[in-house]
Symmetry: C2
Subunit: 353 residues, 2 copies
C-alpha cells in the first residue's frame, strides 16, 4: 500500500516512520506517531509488518487519511552489522523508509533503530551530498537555564570516531545551516571543542581545523572548553564523533546520577521530606529540563535526504517531538543549502579525492 504522491494536499509532506526501530518498537513508535499526527497537517507512513502495526494502531482513534501503513517483512536490530544489514535486508522497515526518501515518496524519515545501519543506509541509498566527505549525526545538547531553555547542536555526535580537519569544517558548515534554517538561530556561533581556548592548543588536527574555521566565513568564535558547553557558550559545537559521543553520554549519565542523588538527599529525614513536598512542583519543572525526549531527534547531516535518528529508548513523547521538530529539516531546503556551501568548500579546501 504505497502512497501516491499526487494525492498530496497542497504543500503537505509525507513523513515515513520506522515502526520497528528501537527498544520500544512498535508500541511507543506508533503511539508517538498518532500523537504527532494530531498536531501536524502532514501524512505519516508507518513502516513495519502490516499486522503488527495495524494491531497497535487499533488502540487509538486517529485520522485514517493522515496515518497509513506500509508493509515490510524484515527487521534490522542492534546486533546487525550496519552495511551488511542494509545490503541484505532490503525489505526492512529502515531500508524501505530510506528508499521512500530516495524516490520522493516521503520527504522526512524518522527511525529509533540501529544508528550505524541508519547512517550506512542513508549513505548507500541516498548518497552523500557532493563535496561532503563525512556526513555526521547532529544531536541537540540541552542548555539548562532557570528561565526557558535552548539547545546547542553537537556535530558530530558519534558517526565518525576519527576525523580530518576538513571533516570538522564540514560539520561546522552543516551545523550552522541547520541551526539557522531549522532551529531559527540567526548567525549561529560556532565553537571547536578543545582543551584550551588558545589557538595553539590541542592535537595537530584540531589546530589545522582552527585555521580552516577561522577562514570559513562562519561565525567561528574559537575553541570552546568542555566546561563552557553546558552554559550554552556556542550554538554549534564542533568535534569528532568520539568526543561528541563522550560529551553526550557523560551528560546523560551525570544528569541521571544527580537526579537520583537529589531524590535521595532531598527526601532523607522528616524535615527534608516536608521541604521536598513544598518543592514538588519546582522539581518536576527541573526534571523536564533534563528530559531528552523534549528536544526532538538527531538529524543526519550531509546525505541527500532528511533522515532523523531518535533515541534507541525513545518513548512516545520523544517520537512525537522528533516527528514534529523534524519537519523543518525537510521543509527548509537544508540539503540544498548544504550542497551549495559544499561547492564553495571544494573551491577553498580542495576536492575530497
Amino acid at each position: 500500500m504505497c502512497f501516491v504522491k499526487d494525492t498530496l494536499n497542497g504543500d503537505n509532506m509525507i513523513i515515513a516512520v520506522d515502526g520497528m526501530g528501537g527498544d520500544n518498537a512498535p508500541v511507543e513508535i506508533v503511539k508517538g506517531a498518532v500523537a504527532a499526527s494530531e498536531q501536524i497537517p502532514h501524512r505519516i507512513c508507518i513502516l513495519g509488518p502490516e499486522e503488527i502495526i495495524e494491531e497497535e494502531l487499533k488502540k487509538y482513534s486517529y485520522d485514517k487519511e493522515k496515518i497509513f501503513v506500509r508493509n515490510t517483512t524484515q527487521i534490522i536490530d542492534n546486533c546487525d552489522s550496519p552495511v551488511r544489514a542494509v545490503r541484505s535486508k532490503k525489505d526492512s522497515s529502515m531500508v524501505a523508509g530510506i528508499n521512500m526518501l530516495k524516490s520522493d515518496d516521503a520527504q522526512l524519515f524518522i527511525s529509533a533503530g540501529n544508528t550505524g545501519a541508519l547512517m550506512a543506509g542513508s549513505l548507500i541509498i541516498l548518497d552523500r551530498i557532493s563535496g561532503i566527505e563525512r556526513p555526521a549525526i547532529a544531536s541537540s545538547y540541552p542548555i539548562l537555564k532557570a528561565k526557558g531553555s535552548k539547545i546547542s547542536l553537537m556535530v558530530d555526535s558519534g558517526a565518525n570516531s576519527e576525523c580530518k580537519a576538513r571533516n570538522l569544517l564540514e560539520f561546522a558548515i552543516m551545523g550552522s545551516i541547520y541551526m539557522e534554517k531549522v532551529i531559527g538561530i540567526d548567525n549561529p556561533k560556532v565553537g571547536l571543542v578543545n582543551i584550551g581556548e588558545e589557538e595553539i592548543k590541542g592535537t595537530a588536527t584540531i589546530k589545522e581545523a582552527y585555521g580552516l574555521l577561522k577562514e570559513s566565513g562562519l561565525n567561528f568564535v574559537g575553541n570552546v572548553e568542555a566546561r563552557e558547553i553546558p552554559k550554552g557558550a556556542v550554538d554549534v559545537v564542533v568535534c569528532d564523533g568520539f568526543v561528541g559521543n563522550v560529551i553526550l553520554k557523560l551528560t546523560e549519565g551525570f544528569a541521571g546520577q544527580i537526579t537520583r542523588l537529589l531524590k535521595d538527599k532531598l527526601t532523607d529525614g522528616v524535615l527534608a521530606k516536608i521541604g521536598a513536598a513544598f518543592l514538588y512542583g519546582k522539581m518536576k519543572d527541573m526534571k523536564k529540563l533534563f528530559d531528552y525526549s523534549e528536544y526532538g531527534g538527531a538529524p543526519i547531516l550531509g546525505v541527500r535526504g532528511a533522515v532523523v535518528k531518535t533515541h534507541g529508548s525513545a518513548n512516545a513523547n520523544a517520537v512525537k517531538n522528533t516527528i514534529i521538530k523534524g519537519i523543518a529539516y525537510a521543509e527548509n531546503n537544508v540539503v540544498e543549502l548544504i550542497e551549495e556551501s559544499a561547492v564553495n568548500l571544494e573551491e577553498t579546501v580542495g576536492s575530497i579525492d
Copy 2:
C-alpha cells in the same frame, strides 16, 4: 635557607609547596599550608620570594619548627611557554621545588601553577620512569552517592592529547598502582573510555589498547561508556588526555550549571522558599559533594618523584587537602612500584625506542 635533611625526626618527610603557583597565590597557598601543618607530623617548605611568603605567614600562628621558607626569585606564570620557562627560570618556586625532590631535600612537591611547566619540569629535572614513555596527570573524579562518596581516577586527564595504545596501557598500570597503594582500593577495576561496550568499537588505537589491556594482568573490565563514569563503574578510567580533559571540564561545567539552576528553581516562589529553608542542611551536604577542593590534587604519574598538581584556582582548603592526601603518594613507594611494572611492560610490549 635550605633545610638540612638530617634534622628530620624519625620518618617525617619534607613537603615542598610552590608558594607562587596558581590564581590565588600566595594568599591561599600559605593559608592552606598552615592549615595542613596542624594536621600532619611532617615539615612543610614553602618556596617563593622570602619577604612575600614571610609576610603572609605573619597572619597566622604556626609551629616554626614545621613550616619554613625557601627563598626563590623567579615566578612561572600561566603565560609562560612550559619548556622555555623551566629552562630559563631556574630560580622559580616551581623549578626549585622540583629540584628539592631530585636532591631528596623534599619527598613531595605540590604546585597550583602552570600545568604544562610542572609536567615539563618534572620530565626534565626528575626524568621519566624507565619504561614509561608518557607520564600522565591522574585526576580524581568524584562519584556522587547519597551515602558517602568515593573517587575514580582518570588517567590521563590532560597531559597527552594524542596517545598510542602502549601509552594507554601505561596509564592503566600507573593508575592501578596509585589506586591500590595511595587510595587503598584493592584490585582496582580498570575501564577504557570508548563509544560502546563491545571490543570492536572505537578507533584503531582504542581497539589495539583493548587488546593490550586484556592481556595485561590488570583487573581490566573492558570498555566503559562515558555515561557509566559518574556512577563509579570503574576505579581507573583510562583515556587520552584530550578526552580526559573534556570529561573533567564538562563535569565541572555541568555541576556548576546544575547548582545555579537548583538555587534559582528552588528559591523561586514563596512555597519553594519555605521548602528550601527546610532543605538547607541537605543542600549544603550536596554542595560539598560537588566541591573539588575536598578531593586532593592530581598526581603526575610516571616521573621519578612525587609531584602533585592542585587546581589553578585552588583555595586554602584545596591546598590543605592536596598536601594531606598527597603524603601517601610519597610514602608508599609508588614510583618504585611503577618502575617494577614498567620493566615487565618492556618485556611484553617491547621497549620504547
